[in-house]
Symmetry: C2
Subunit: 170 residues, 2 copies
């Protein structure tokens, strides 16, 4: 079970050792628990394919048009940076045994553009844990997810509320 004072400056290796202690349930998500995910490099093909489908604006699609834009070059859709944040978090496996559903997102801020071939890492911090008063097998957690690039620039931050199962009694 992760200690509530889990250090902020985890290396990927330490995070993986910690995650190998799964399964995790609602009780394990103590406020203050932080975990750093592995990293992911976003290539141009993937960036443009996402934008063509979900966010066909010139600064996500066309290098020449992007140069003249606010961003000065091609940048990923903010919806892709949000999806990548979740990809990194869920691929840790910490929600594998307890994840029921997402409830919502608040305070999502796109802070810095995500560029082609940026390598990003996500850091999670548990902010709140509320056992359900009506359903004894579950509860909700609020977790802050920060996505940083390889230069330590914060790409985005968001708070996501989700429903998790409690540890089964048997």
């Amino acid at each position: 079970m992760p200690p509530s004072n889990f250090p902020a400056n985890l290396t990927d290796t330490l995070a993986k050792i910690e995650i190998s202690m799964a399964p995790f349930y609602l009780e394990d998500f103590t406020p203050g628990w932080r975990i750093k995910t592995s990293s992911y490099t976003l290539g141009e093909d993937e960036m443009v394919a996402f934008a063509r489908k979900y966010d066909p604006q010139p600064f996500h699609l066309d290098a020449e048009a992007a140069e003249k834009s606010f961003f000065g070059g091609l940048v990923a859709s903010g919806f892709q940076s949000a999806a990548l944040t979740w990809k990194l978090a869920t691929e840790t496996g910490i929600f594998k045994d307890s994840g029921i559903a997402g409830i919502g997102i608040d305070e999502l801020h796109w802070l810095h553009p995500l560029h082609i071939n940026d390598t990003v890492t996500c850091t999670l911090e548990v902010l709140a844990n509320h056992p359900s008063t009506s359903k004894p097998d579950r509860g909700s957690v609020v977790i802050r997810y920060d996505l940083d690039n390889h230069d330590g620039r914060k790409i985005l931050t968001l708070k996501l509320t989700q429903i998790l199962l409690r540890r089964p009694k048997n």
Copy 2:
């Protein structure tokens, strides 16, 4: 320019006529303006491809596992329903001439699952319009985006803040 009392119960056709009045700039996004987008049907291949990449949880990937889940069947990733919301909105063209960048999202609530072959439509309502006090060529708008399925069930709602250009003076 859209009237501030634009009716809520637009048909797609009316929305398209209105949108043909582009280009739109910051000044046109008057609080209360509502617009309904065209619709989109999410197929199984697209749903599963997104989940495999960004949200590999069993209830997004595996029909058998999904049957035993909270959802009772395969459902789209919430990050895909958010991206589809934006796809429908941006494909109207209303941000084509003025869109600079997204700032953030608040009050995103996933309210109802998005299933295979659901046909969804987005309704936008402008909530706030703030000309910049420091940069005279731009300002921010807050718009609520509601994604509904073909049965009129609300899949999600979110509020997005973005920066738009003002109408050029010439």
